[in-house]
């Protein structure tokens, strides 16, 4: 095994739907040891379970396979290893697809590993029978109350199985659900041999992972002082320069756009933050109040002194379930009097639906006049003005599919039977889509096991 320090770990994909250029540029524009990629959100797991139910060889992030196809020669040439949670609910199938791409390109000897064990959809009844209540962490209700509607159930797995796959020589590691910071922590455990009780080090890797997990959100994306961010089109994706002792530098490749300073890094540290003293993960509890940040050069922020504590005896489980239906549609309404006409249009829609027996409570419906202050409606200091045009956005939700679907028929007719200047109906009639409810729960660790499999492309 190569002994190196520091180790360079980048994140090239902050979420499924992030720019395709992020990872491609990271492998081309400068030195790198590890490329990490995040493809999973809670709603993704539910969608993937449905895909897999229809087609057994699907249920993973197909974008990842296309990416490997595009960058494989560079990964091999530069010896860059990849860790991605692209496996979704079918890491096996994802691995087969990646192996096929490698073999098609005639590359020999590349090892691909998978981590399984997070998908407990098929074990829910056994777990509940064994006494796991899988109660909703927010409401306390036992899972039995929605059991029949459950569409996916995945454990946020430890980063140690990722290190195990790397220990076995995998150049590409594909996981299902794990924590986002774990994609960075796994390679550091592998490189430096950090132990399960090295809580400060595990917390350092977790903080590093948290800073880079949303890609360009720590390099000047979604940043308060956006006016001073240079060359956002070519914004650099973040790289952790990690040391054995747990200190690390957040940086990016020279010549890329964006900025890394104390402000951009703390923006991301605050993202989706709860109690900063106890950031809970499967491998440790990280204290975000413990460390110091220091600008040590252009686009270089050093973090040191991260403190950690033992993890809890439970894993977090992300469960999703079918929770009703919704439909949302929009029309564009020009001036003059755009706002007055948009209000009339909304009133017409609700009245016509009521005339046909569909009445929606305030909790079941939504009206937005996009352009006339939707995002900050009711905030006293928000701008108020009469816009030249408005996007009227209407939505309904509920458990009655027919009633939700009925709504969609009454939007487009406004073009000919409402006030003048109604247009922008190109999307056609809005249809009902499923609402996926989330059920965060806990499961005791000894009931969950993982499995690591490493396969060599071409069979040798």
């Amino acid at each position: 095994m190569k002994k190196r320090e520091p180790v360079l770990v980048a994140n090239g994909q902050g979420f499924w739907g992030d720019s395709l250029l992020g990872p491609v540029r990271l492998v081309r524009e400068g030195p790198l040891d590890y490329l990490t990629l995040d493809y999973l959100a809670e709603v993704t797991m539910s969608i993937m379970q449905k895909q897999r139910a229809r087609k057994p060889e699907s249920g993973y992030a197909t974008d990842f396979v296309k990416l490997i196809e595009r960058v494989l020669p560079e990964l091999v040439k530069k010896d860059i290893r990849v860790v991605a949670n692209a496996g979704g609910v079918n890491p096996q199938a994802c691995m087969q697809a990646v192996l096929a791409v490698i073999e098609k390109q005639g590359v020999k000897g590349v090892k691909v590993g998978i981590v399984e064990g997070d998908d407990i959809l098929g074990q829910l009844d056994t777990l509940m029978g064994a006494g796991e209540k899988l109660a909703n962490m927010d409401t306390g209700a036992p899972l039995s109350t929605v059991r029949a509607s459950v569409t996916s159930a995945n454990v946020y797995m430890s980063a140690f199985p990722i290190a195990e796959a790397l220990d076995q020589g995998a150049q590409i590691v594909i996981t299902g659900r794990g924590t986002d910071p774990g994609l960075v922590l796994g390679p550091l455990i592998h490189e430096y041999g950090w132990k399960k009780t090295d809580y400060d080090l595990l917390a350092a890797g977790t903080v590093a992972g948290h800073i880079v997990e949303c890609g360009a959100q720590c390099t000047g994306g979604n940043f308060t002082d956006w006016q001073r961010v240079p060359d956002m089109a070519r914004i650099g994706y973040p790289i952790v320069e990690a040391h054995r002792d747990g200190t690390f530098v957040i940086t990016k490749h020279a010549g890329t756009g964006g900025v890394i300073d104390l402000a951009t890094v703390t923006h991301q540290l605050a993202y989706e933050m709860g109690d900063p003293k106890a950031y809970l993960g499967p491998d440790c509890s990280a204290d975000f109040t413990s460390f110091t940040l220091e600008q040590e050069g252009k686009d270089r922020v050093r973090v040191r002194g991260v403190k950690g504590a033992p993890p809890t005896p439970t894993y977090k489980v992300s469960i999703s379930y079918q929770d009703g239906w919704k439909a949302v549609g929009q029309l564009t309404i020009s001036g003059p009097d755009a706002l007055a006409k948009a209000k009339l249009c909304a009133e017409i829609v609700w009245k016509r639906l009521e005339m046909d027996g569909c009445k929606y409570s305030d909790a079941e419906r939504l009206v937005e006049f996009v352009g006339a202050n939707v995002c900050h409606a009711g905030i006293e200091t928000a701008e108020r003005h009469d816009p030249a045009e408005i996007v009227l956005r209407l939505g309904v939700k509920g458990r009655d599919l027919a009633k939700v679907e009925r709504f969609g028929y009454e939007l487009v007719p406004l073009v000919t039977s409402g006030p003048p200047g109604v247009t922008g109906f190109a999307g056609g009639r809005p249809h009902a889509t499923e609402i996926i409810g989330f059920w965060p729960a806990l499961v005791s660790k000894p009931r969950i096991s993982h499995k690591v499999t490493v396969v060599t492309a071409g069979g040798s």
Binding site: T266, A270, T289, R365, L366, C375, R393, I436
Partner: protein, 115 residues
């Protein structure tokens, strides 16, 4: 004393947390942080954001980042895929809070750089 928006002395980032959101407010100077710790209470934030957030507001502090972290417990219209709102993930809540107008002493303004 001067009436200025929070954005003059702080930056912010927001995101979703279940059926609520968090807004992390980062002061632009140590002096501004001390001032905000005193003035920008959870109750003050709850009042300002009451049209968006229908639940409680909890505040956490992290001195090393000059951070006040506010948890808005019910601010997404159901959260996740149940929300009908345009901003179903609270991405714009940071900017909404930065609009709050505060009465800031001149010495805090003098010691705090603009963006």
């Amino acid at each position: 004393m001067a009436l200025v928006p929070l954005s003059r002395i702080a930056m912010a980032r927001s995101g979703d947390k279940g059926e609520g959101s968090n807004v992390g407010v980062m002061a632009r100077s140590d002096v501004a942080y001390r001032f905000l710790k005193r003035e920008l209470t959870g109750e003050r934030v709850r009042q300002h954001m009451r049209a968006i957030n229908h639940g409680q507001v909890k505040r956490y502090e992290s001195e090393n980042m000059r951070l006040l972290n506010f948890i808005l417990q019910d601010s997404l219209g159901g959260g996740g895929s149940a929300s009908l709102k345009t901003d179903a993930q609270g991405k714009t809540h940071a900017l909404a809070l930065l609009r709050i107008v505060l009465e800031v002493p001149q010495e805090v303004l003098d010691a705090t750089p603009h963006s």
